[in-house]
């Protein structure tokens, strides 16, 4: 599978001062979440930290994109801090917040973005365990290859697991969001902001425990000078290569 990526935008907790390796598993209690000046105040007030980081990178990625793009959104856990609060309220037989409930579905974030940017294109929202990010890339590729779209806005976000769920963690934790514009490779001259890559995957039973999420490993690799990388989840092995 060959795709061209441009405008990769990454945000993670403490990205102002720390590298991804340094920031992973760090304390996120006193965090400054993105400010989102482009969102009107009356709408901004309802945005959770999860929504803020995802909308920030998405907005950065479409900075000079003129037409409305279909969106592929990927997240392993969605807005889990919000979901777990809703679940706790239900368990305690409390009434649940209509605002939180209304924004708790998996496609809420790309839908908010489509409202904010007046974008009426199709949206896919994907969750596929440890492979969420990479499987969403496969989905984006399928949509491009089948001619459903010429370009796709890809958004991925995952937040550090809430305290209650940390006991189940099977990868390292760092709140992060990644966005990019994806198309099929063409013959045109590459600009500095873009890169074509080839990727493939095979089923594979791995005993990996506590890796970094594939999304973070991907963005580290993408921004490095390294040509090739092999990423592993519990069920798949992914081979990625940059094209010259």
């Amino acid at each position: 599978m060959d795709i061209k990526i441009r405008h990769l935008s990454v945000w993670y907790a403490h990205c102002d001062e720390l590298s991804i390796e340094q920031a992973v598993n760090s304390d996120e209690t006193e965090l400054n979440w993105p400010k989102l000046a482009f969102v009107p105040a009356m709408q901004r007030r309802r945005l959770s930290p999860f929504a803020k980081m995802a909308l920030k990178v998405a907005n950065d990625s479409i900075i000079d994109v003129v037409q409305d793009l279909p969106i592929v959104f990927s997240s392993r856990h969605g807005d889990l801090p919000k979901t777990s609060t809703l679940l706790a309220d239900l368990a305690d037989k409390n009434a649940i917040s209509p605002t939180a409930f209304g924004l708790s579905v998996h496609n809420a974030i790309p839908s908010l973005f489509s409202i904010l940017t007046n974008n009426k294109q199709a949206i896919n929202a994907i969750s596929a365990g440890q492979d969420s990010f990479m499987m969403a890339l496969v989905d984006a590729y399928a949509r491009l290859k089948s001619g459903l779209a010429d370009e796709i806005l890809f958004i991925h976000a995952d937040q550090k697991l809430p305290e209650t769920y940390l006991g189940f963690q099977d990868e390292q934790q760092l709140s992060h969001a990644i966005s990019m514009v994806i198309s099929l490779p063409d013959q045109e001259q590459k600009t500095t902001n873009e890169q074509s890559i080839r990727f493939s995957f095979k089923q594979f039973s791995n005993a990996v425990i506590d890796n970094m999420p594939l999304s973070l490993l991907f963005s580290q690799w993408y921004c490095s000078t390294q040509q090739q990388i092999v990423l592993a989840s519990k069920n798949y092995q992914w081979t990625l290569e940059k094209n010259a």
Binding site: R45, R46, A95, P98, T99
Partner: protein, 85 residues
């Protein structure tokens, strides 16, 4: 009554995360929804829930009267103080 009005304004600001708005910015007779403060239907649900919780009053979700009760701080104050007893 005066205290309850301040209390309700504080409740609205906190419940609905109105970051840039202070108690003094909300007028007693100003419309809360659409015009005036500019709240919307999700705010109505959220505020209804908060008032139920805080004052233990019952709110009929679909009645014309309820619309009236939520029209301004004055109306809301009257509704809550009557319903509480």
């Amino acid at each position: 009554m005066g205290d309850l009005k301040v209390e309700l304004k504080q409740l609205i600001i906190e419940t609905l995360d109105l970051e840039d708005i202070e108690i003094a910015d909300i007028q007693d007779d100003e419309a809360l929804f659409i015009d005036g403060l500019g709240l919307d239907s999700i705010d109505a649900l959220e505020l209804g829930l908060a008032i139920k919780k805080n004052y233990d009053v019952k709110i009929d979700a679909n009645s014309e009267e309820t619309k009236q009760h939520f029209s301004s701080i004055n109306a809301l104050c009257e509704f809550v103080s009557k319903a509480k007893v």
